[in-house]
């Protein structure tokens, strides 16, 4: 009984829905399911599996970089021929590893695993909808992602290895199979996989936007939406505008590779022959790629910031400070995200005047980001903070976001980028601000909404331990990496022995690698806690964090349609924590002002008159729809 059927046969269903559920077989219930909660879990589990693969890859190349003398023969059972007889990692496979680490973490973990999971899970629950606007498209979205995953996974096992031109796959390297072994079948599968991934993102994104606009429950006006929903909405819009551009760049690259076009190729002499291609421009690809690539940073980060807003407010027992400023800064960031892409290209030979323009626009982003940072801090101020694991990761996110964001001001400065471009300074910067910060958003979300997902609690103490190991580990890895970058070490180097200027910091690189390995091991605490708690965790109460948002008004195990009976109406914003005069330190969104006379502000008393009108609307209940 899917949402779409629910709409089509609504009249019929509306009467009998309360009384009987059609039995669903295993396939309908868990595999080809159209229920947003199940799809969210599918995204989450896929994301976790990809994260384990992606981070393991980084451990392998960190061993190569930090402990270059080590014997990697123990990896032979997995990597086979990529490990030489003497236990050394193949340089080609090193490039494949950094490429796949980037691709997997950015797209499969932090885009699909984070935004896919929480947009799917929280949008209907927090806006008060039965399900997504189209459950079928939502299901398709996951399965396109799944097929993309399978193809990308298969590419790991090719004889010639997976794609290996860096996650940005700049042509001509990625366009010419003779330039690198990873540019053969591996790159073909990469492109096919990403094309399917983009389809998945677009199906998902259209659904998120439609659902937020059309299916909000009675009284849930835009200025009462939790910031999580705002962030998912803005993320989906970003993705919807920018992913098609990546699709076009991928498509043109496929044409160049297979059909002899010259969009990106010109004046190339390789392997003893001059290629016939003339007139193309490799820089065109970079423009197209970064037109997605930069918004992608915010596609990854904004859901994390939204989750953090919600978790910090709940666990500080305080309203989020500057709700409207938070929305405005997210909109500002989203707008600016589209007009700063060329700051990744300052030293590509682009017209220097363009460089100046993009430097100016880039540094403006610091302003809305600063507003967000300070608003989080003010939310903590005079709070009554409960250190749930979700809260710890949210606080950690703010710290990482600010620390990593600040070095972005250096890199966004085109004059300084000359020296720092493609060095470890960049690696350190974006891992802090986008990689680790977004991953912390993912962790915060999982810890916070686990009880709603699985009806059980994760172990708090293990969560806290996991946080401290991860938080300290991240800083131990990436602070020293800035030093390595300032010393001029270039990215994507198999080893640092070829140059005198990189013939130092052997200890620093070893330190980074050891810290990376320990932080990686700490993630098993999370894995154990997660999977153990699904089955054996303490049973969750209705509203474990004493939170205001609508998802906590559903049954502990919400069925299809989320609420039994009518969907609750919404009368207030979601941040009425510690309101003066109120009995409890939280007032859920579905409590009308008429029931909280003791804590109402004067302008809120005026809103009581409107409650009857809100109560009587019932446009959006898919189980109650009339035609």
């Amino acid at each position: 009984m899917s949402a779409i059927e629910g709409v089509v046969t609504a009249q019929h269903h509306a009467e009998e829905h309360e009384h009987h559920h059609e039995a669903q077989n295993f396939w309908q219930k868990y595999i080809f399911c159209e229920d947003h909660k199940v799809i969210a879990k599918q995204y989450l589990i896929s994301g976790i599996i990809w994260a384990v693969i992606g981070i393991s890859m980084s451990v392998v190349f960190r061993i190569q970089l930090g402990l270059p003398e080590s014997n990697l023969s123990w990896l032979k059972p997995i990597l086979g021929g990529w490990i030489s007889e003497s236990g050394k990692l193949d340089p080609n496979f090193y490039l494949a590893l950094v490429t796949m680490h980037g691709t997997i973490m950015v797209f499969f973990v932090l885009t699909a695993g984070l935004s896919g999971t929480f947009s799917n899970f929280l949008i209907p629950l927090q806006i008060g909808a039965r399900d997504m606007a189209s459950g079928f498209m939502n299901m398709l979205s996951y399965w396109f992602f799944f097929v993309a995953s399978v193809i990308m996974f298969i590419s790991l096992f090719l004889q010639t290895g997976p794609a290996a031109g860096g996650w940005v796959i700049y042509p001509p390297l990625s366009a010419l199979p003779q330039a690198h072994m990873g540019s053969g079948m591996g790159m073909t599968l990469w492109l096919v996989s990403m094309a399917l991934f983009i389809v998945s993102q677009l199906l998902g994104g259209i659904n998120y936007i439609t659902t937020v606009i059309n299916l909000r429950t009675r009284g849930m006006s835009f200025d009462r939406l939790p910031l999580t929903i705002w962030s998912f909405l803005i993320t989906a819009i970003l993705g919807l505008i920018s992913f098609p551009v990546l699709f076009s760049s991928v498509l043109l690259l496929i044409f160049d590779r297979h059909f002899g076009t010259s969009f990106y190729l010109s004046d190339i002499y390789i392997n003893g022959e001059a290629l016939p291609n003339v007139g193309g421009s490799p820089i065109l690809f970079q423009h197209l790629f970064w037109f997605l690539g930069h918004p992608e940073v915010y596609i990854v980060l904004l859901p994390g910031l939204g989750i953090t807003s919600e978790v910090i407010a709940t666990n500080s027992r305080k309203p989020i400070f500057g709700y409207r400023a938070m929305i405005a800064s997210m909109l500002g960031i989203a707008f600016l995200a589209f007009i700063v892409w060329a700051h990744h290209m300052f030293v590509t030979g682009m017209n220097p005047f363009l460089g100046s323009v993009f430097m100016f626009l880039t540094l403006i982003i610091a302003v809305p980001s600063a507003v967000k940072g300070f608003n989080y801090i003010t939310t903590l101020w005079k709070g009554n903070i409960v250190f749930t694991p979700g809260m710890l990761f949210s606080i950690g996110l703010v710290s990482l976001f600010v620390s990593g964001g600040l070095t972005g001001i250096i890199l966004g400065n085109s004059a300084l980028d000359i020296q720092l471009h493609d060095t470890y300074f960049v690696v350190a910067h974006f891992h802090l601000v986008m990689g680790a910060a977004s991953a912390f958003g993912l962790f915060a979300g999982v810890y916070h909404w686990f009880p709603k997902m699985f009806g059980r609690m994760m172990n708090t103490t293990l969560g806290q331990i996991h946080f401290w190991f991860t938080f300290i580990g991240i800083y131990l890895i990436f602070i020293p990496m800035h030093y390595v970058g300032i010393a001029g070490f270039p990215r994507r180097y198999y080893q640092f022995t070829s140059y005198d200027f990189t013939h130092k910091y052997m200890d620093m690189n070893m330190f980074i690698s050891v810290a990376a390995i320990l932080s990686f091991l700490a993630q098993f605490i999370f894995l154990w806690n997660f999977f153990y708690s699904i089955f054996k965790g303490k049973r969750a109460p209705q509203n474990p964090w004493r939170s205001n948002t609508l998802e906590w008004t559903t049954p502990i195990h919400p069925g299809h349609g989320n609420w039994e009976g009518q969907i609750p109406a919404v009368y207030r914003w979601s941040y009425d924590y510690s309101k003066p005069g109120a009995k409890e330190d939280f007032i859920p969104q579905n409590i009308p002002y008429s029931q909280t006379l003791e804590s109402n502000f004067p302008h809120e008393n005026e809103l009581i008159a409107a409650e009857k009108a809100i109560e009587s609307q019932n446009f959006n209940d898919q189980f109650n729809a009339s035609h």
Partner: protein
Amino acid sequence: MSILIAIVALVFVVLTGIVISRLQNVLKSINKSDSPDAEPSGNKVNGAMFLVILVTGAVAITWSYLHAREFFLPEASSVHGRRTDDLFWFSMGILTIPFILVNFLIFFFAWKYQHKPNHRASFYPDNHRLELIWTIVPAIVMALLVFTGWKAWSDITSDAPRDSEVIEITGKQFNWIVRYSGVSDNKLGNYNFKLIDAQNEVGIDLSDENSFDDFTNPSEMHIPVNRPVLLRIRARDVLHSVFIPHMRVKMDAVPGMPTKFWFVADKSTADMRAELNNPKFDYEIACTEVCGQGHFSMKLRLIVEDEASYKKWCAEQATFLQTYPEYLAKVPENLKAKAMKYVPAEAVTPADSSSTSAGGAGTSTSLR
């Protein structure tokens, strides 16, 4: 090194210790009630951890910076490089203030405002003046940084001075090839990627008379000190990027789209050897755009020397035509006499015999 490892190990051991003691506390408190005023699980310890991390983090970052700076690149050897370095450290200095401030506030507030029984948080949803302050202050700081950065950037990317020494550097998998304009005409000849072959690695177009005295070098680049050098940057196969760390120079090499970068090196290799007290010091050119298997070892030596020795070195180099006299065949008839000057006498006769046909082909393939 072992000290560092020991420190990491120590941090993790201490953490493990805390964890174990915490676990015991949790086991003890497992039967406590869930009422909202009860102490949330582990709150005190986690609050304290924020203070501990604040202090140890500050110490660790300061110490690690002081330790790491010994190994930073020496003072820039180019005029613009010292300017960007100053700008970098100036910006870092300014940004350190919000870094310390914000992290201090996050960690301190987390500790200070941790949950207290029978206490209620302040209801403080907004304050327009505060929002305005932290919109405007960053905006002003950004304006300052943008302005200084923009000035530096437009000077660095301005047109090269007329008296610049023009040197061409071409990236290929996996080395660089340097081409000089030669001692007689001081002009680089045309090139065309279709003319590339095993000897003519950068596709010198010999139908252009300016190319007759050009010479190439695949292993080192010589440049004069204290004089602007304009690098004309090309790539033959895939993207590369010219990176001269000590000069703070970086520019991508793009097939089909020549790029350029000019700079003034004002410390010769000898100066640097003296300054660093390292007789083996050499400037190096590296590749910073991933280009395939050999990306990590595309090393080219850079020798910065005074004008006289640079001139002398240039004069000693064999021109391309001297090295490969058979390419005389590609020179068009009307320029042959001129080209002869650059060819050793004994090589002239055999090359001349095939001149008519090959010379014609050479001209027709010249697209530029």
